[in-house]
C-alpha cells in the first residue's frame, strides 16, 4: 500500500480528478496549500507600495493505492497536471503501514 502526494496548480485539479477517476481510483483527499519551489513568489502593488508574496497557492492531492497501480496513477497525474511551464508542482510516493476503513474495520486493499 502506498500514498501518492501531488502538489499541483489549483486550476489543474479538475483534470487530475477526472484522470484519477478514469484510472479507477475510489477516493482522494484535497487540501489548499501554499509554498514555493523553483517558481518563486510574485509581487503585488497597493497604493504604489510593492509587496512580495513568497508563497504561491497550490492544491495538494493525496491518493492511496495498491503497489501495482502506482506507476499508472503517477503517469495519469503527471499528464493531467502538466502545462510544461515552471510551477507545475511535484508528486511523490511514500509507503503506508496500515489503511483501515473506520466504519467497517476493513484493512488493506479492502479498505480502499
Amino acid at each position: 500500500m502506498k500514498l501518492i502526494t501531488a502538489v499541483i496548480k489549483p486550476f489543474k485539479l479538475d483534470e487530475v480528478k477526472e484522470a484519477l477517476k478514469a484510472a479507477g481510483v475510489a477516493g482522494m483527499t484535497v487540501t489548499e496549500v501554499q509554498g514555493f519551489g523553483r517558481q518563486s513568489g510574485h509581487t503585488e502593488v497597493y497604493r504604489g507600495t510593492e509587496y512580495t508574496v513568497d508563497f504561491v497557492p497550490k492544491v495538494k492531492v493525496e491518493v492511496l493505492a495498491e503497489d501495482d497501480q502506482i506507476a499508472g496513477l503517477v503517469d495519469a497525474i503527471a499528464a493531467a497536471a502538466s502545462t510544461g511551464k515552471i510551477g507545475d508542482g511535484k508528486l511523490w510516493v511514500t509507503d503506508v503501514g496500515l489503511v483501515q476503513r473506520i466504519r467497517t474495520g476493513e484493512r488493506g486493499a479492502d479498505a480502499l
Binding site: V45, Y46, R47, G48, T49, Y51, T52
Partner: protein, 409 residues
C-alpha cells in the same frame, strides 16, 4: 416645516449613518486578517458613544445658538427645547442630521491608528476628542468666527476631513509606528470588503453632501451632481496614474480615488457647478495618489492613509472653492472664487480657516493622546500586536474555520 424638505433631510441623515459601517468595511478590508474586527469595532464604537454624547451636550455646544463666535452653550443640553411641539421637529431633525456627521468624524481617525492602539484608549479618546476638537471647530466653521469672515464649507471639508485628517497625524505621532513598519509589508486582507465599503460610502455621501442643503432644493440637486461627478473623476485619475506609474489598473487605486474625490467635493458641493467637480476630482485623484507615499518618506505610520486621503483631499477641495465658487447660483452671501471674478479674497479665507483648524486640531489631539499615554496607555503589548488585536482585545476572530466546544461541557 416643508414636508418635501423634511423627507429629504431625514433620508439623508439615514444615508450618512450608513457611511460609518461603510467606512468600517473600507478600512477593515485594507487591514490585516487578525485585526479586522478591532477596526470594525473602533468604527462601531463611534456609533455607540457619539449619539449619546451628542444628545447630552455635543449638539448644544456645537450649534446652539448659531450666532456664537467660539462655542455654543448648554441651552439645548439633554435635548432641551428640541421637541416636535415647538417647531414641528425642525430643530430636532437638524440635531439628528448633524449627529450623523459627529459619528463619522472621529471614526475617520481609526484608519491611522490601526493595528496597535488599545481599545480602551480609543474608547476614551472618541468622546473626549469629540468635545474638545470636533465641537469647537464645527462651531467656528458653521456660524462661528471662521464662517462669519466668509470662508465656506458646504458639508464638512474643513470641519470634518481636514480636522480628522490632521488629528490622525497627531495621533500616530504619539502612538508610534507599528512593529516592523515600514520594512514589513501589510497588504490588504480582503479587497472585496474594500470595494463594498467604497460603494456604501459613495451611496451614503449623497446624503452627506446633497442633504447638507438642508432641504429638497436646487442646491441639493447641484450637490448631488457634484458628488456623482467628482468621485468618478478622482477614481479615474488615480487609477490612470497607477496604470502609468505601476503598470496596472488596481481596485485599491479606484476605491481610494473615489473616496478622495468624495472628500474633496464635500466642502464645495453646494458652491461649485458645471464641470468644476470634474476638474476638482481629476486634480484630487492625482494629488492624493502621490500624497499617500509621503508617510514612508517622512516616517509617520498612518496605517491606512487617513492623512493622504482625508487631510490632503479635504484641503485640496476646500482651497478649490476659492477658485470655483459661483455666487450666481448659490446666493450673494457667498463670495465668488478666483475663476468667477472674485479675486483672491475667498481663497485667503479658505486658507485661514484650514490653517486655524490644522493648528488647533493637531495640538489638542496631540495633548489628548499624550494624556492618555501617561494614564491608561495607548499601545497594546508587543505580544498582542504580533498575535492580533481581534482575539486579545475583543475575544473574537473574523474568519473562524473550526468548531468550538461550549465552555463547561
Amino acid at each position: 416645516m416643508d414636508t418635501g424638505d423634511a423627507a429629504w433631510v431625514l433620508i439623508s441623515a439615514a444615508l450618512v449613518l450608513f457611511m460609518t459601517p461603510g467606512l468600517a468595511l473600507f478600512y477593515g478590508g485594507m487591514d490585516r486578517q487578525r485585526n479586522v474586527l478591532n477596526m470594525l469595532m473602533m468604527n462601531f464604537w463611534c456609533l455607540l458613544i457619539v449619539p449619546v454624547v451628542w444628545a447630552i451636550g455635543g449638539f448644544s455646544l456645537a450649534q446652539v445658538p448659531f450666532e456664537n463666535d467660539w462655542i455654543g452653550s448648554f441651552d439645548a443640553a439633554f435635548l432641551r427645547g428640541l421637541t416636535i411641539g415647538d417647531d414641528g421637529g425642525s430643530a430636532l431633525m437638524t440635531a439628528m442630521f448633524l449627529g450623523m456627521f459627529a459619528v463619522i468624524t472621529p471614526a475617520l481617525i481609526s484608519g491611522a491608528v490601526a493595528d496597535r492602539m488599545r481599545f480602551s484608549a480609543w474608547a476614551v479618546f472618541v468622546p473626549v476628542w469629540l468635545i474638545l476638537v470636533f465641537v469647537p471647530v464645527f462651531k467656528w466653521v458653521y456660524g462661528g468666527w471662521l464662517g462669519q469672515r466668509g470662508s465656506l464649507d458646504f458639508a464638512g471639508g474643513t470641519a470634518i476631513h481636514v480636522n480628522a485628517g490632521i488629528a490622525a497625524l497627531a495621533a500616530v505621532l504619539v502612538l508610534g509606528r507599528r512593529k516592523g513598519w515600514p520594512g514589513e509589508g501589510y497588504p490588504p486582507h480582503s479587497m472585496p470588503l474594500v470595494m463594498l465599503g467604497t460603494g456604501i460610502l459613495w451611496f451614503g455621501w449623497f446624503g452627506f453632501n446633497a442633504g447638507s442643503a438642508l432641504g429638497a432644493s436646487g442646491t441639493a440637486v447641484q450637490a448631488f451632481a457634484n458628488t456623482f461627478l467628482a468621485a468618478a473623476a478622482a477614481g479615474l485619475s488615480w487609477a490612470v496614474v497607477e496604470r502609468l506609474r505601476d503598470g496596472h489598473f488596481t481596485n485599491l487605486g479606484a476605491a481610494s480615488g473615489i473616496v478622495a474625490g468624495l472628500v474633496a467635493i464635500t466642502p464645495g458641493a453646494g458652491f461649485v457647478a458645471g464641470m468644476a467637480p470634474i476638474w476638482i476630482g481629476l486634480a484630487t485623484g492625482v494629488v492624493c495618489c502621490f500624497a499617500v507615499g509621503l508617510k514612508t518618506r517622512l516616517g509617520y505610520d498612518d496605517a491606512l492613509d487617513v492623512v493622504g486621503v482625508h487631510f490632503v483631499g479635504g484641503l485640496v477641495g476646500s482651497l478649490a472653492i476659492g477658485l470655483f465658487s459661483e455666487p450666481e447660483f448659490f446666493g450673494t452671501d457667498v463670495m465668488a472664487g478666483l475663476f468667477h471674478g472674485g479675486g483672491l479674497d475667498l481663497l485667503l479665507e479658505q486658507a485661514l480657516a484650514n490653517g486655524v483648524t490644522i493648528v488647533y486640531s493637531f495640538i489638542v489631539t496631540g495633548l489628548i493622546m499624550l494624556a492618555l499615554r501617561a494614564t491608561i496607555g495607548v499601545r497594546v503589548s508587543e505580544e498582542t500586536e504580533t498575535s492580533g488585536l481581534d482575539l486579545a482585545e475583543h475575544a473574537e476572530t473574523a474568519y473562524s474555520t473550526g468548531t468550538a466546544t461550549l465552555a463547561g461541557h
